[in-house]
Amino acid sequence: MGNTLTIAALASAEKMINAALRYDPATRIGLARLEGKIIALHITTPGIHLFAMPMDDELRLMGNWDGDVDTRISGSLLALAQLGQKEVHNLKDTGVTVVGDLSLLADMQRLVKNLDIDWEEMLSQFTGDIIGHQTAQLIRAKFGWAKERAKSARRLTSEFLTEELKTLPGKPELEDFYRQVDDLRLAVDRATARVEQLIAERKPTMRIEF
């Protein structure tokens, strides 16, 4: 019974993803180029095994795959989510392990990163163009406001910690400290070179005569 439920859950997720992808033609073209490739995804926490296969210009999600796999990716949900967001050239210390075709991972990562779903077009299908556009504008304005608030919250927290509580150094202080460390390192390097030169000058030169 559990197996049937897993298949049902994945079928629903697949339907939702592909419905959203209909409004991102660039990603669909990218998926079509990877047609037939199988990616096995093992999410360690929580323990989930699933397989993804681009088919036509859609993505197919499967709970089982009894065949060859091109790339096996394993890692925690957090590590995998971060991998989808960042440009990573080396998987060391990312908490993600990959076996198989690495270029397929790079292609998928690029697709996820460049995902750009046209929500306005999606809304317009249900509401018509005018209401769809107005709703999208409203969402964008609200989203922009939330983004701005999040940014200022980050700034205020940092100011509170550095200026009020004085628990952390400020950015200019930190940069000044780094500059001093650099200066000191250069001065030590110069002094070392000078000492070595003086030692070399004091040594008698050996001459070999025939």
């Binding site: 019974m1 197996n3 049937t4 298949i7 079928a11 037939g36 036509d56 709970g63 089982n64 065949g67």
Partner: protein
Amino acid sequence: MNDKKTTHFGFQQVPVEEKAERVAEVFHSVAAKYDVMNDLMSAGVHRLWKRFTIEASGVRVGHKVLDIAGGTGDLSYQFAKLVGANGQVVLADINASMLGVGRDRLTDRGIAGNINFAQCDAQFLPFPDNTFDCITIAFGLRNVTDKDLALRSMQRVLKPGGRLLVLEFSKPQSEILSKIYDTYSFKVLPFMGKLVTNDAESYRYLAESIRMHPDQQTLKEMMDNAGFVRTEFHNMTGGIVALHKGIKP
């Protein structure tokens, strides 16, 4: 003394040569509304059972697939997408009405070029030895007169290393589920059949034929006897349906 060989048709015993004809009548009768009835009878779960079959098939680009008793083409549609332009799918069914519905449906959904249709009997498959990478028979084996003969025929046309997948109704694993399932099959199913296709008898046959079909272990042994190796089965929805898998050595 009557030496005529008989076989079961639902709960009745009929002469062997009559069974195919009687089964054909059932499917001629239900062909037009087969998909609607499947969705109604299984509450759409048959799509999940078929989805699991696709996942277990391991079919890739370029493979050759035979979908026996393919009916209205649910599996063939997915396989045609999986094998791509260089692969080949053969949708086979003994029943012309079902095959006609399947062919129209696949054509309407834009499937062409890598699919062929064949009206043939699973017991005597008209293909050369070692032809297919994968063979599936979904909800069809129980209607075949001589199942052993059909399994041997499938083994012959599979390539070595190719796999056979048999998706079929089977024996529920719990007593309670079994009782609910019995009531549903013998009371509700014929009633729904009467409502939708005005044909309660055909759906009574479907319920009876499910009960006469070998259980999980017996079918596995039949596949072993037909020459398949690494045979195994997966129960789905509490054993109401089982997917059997075997590899041709």
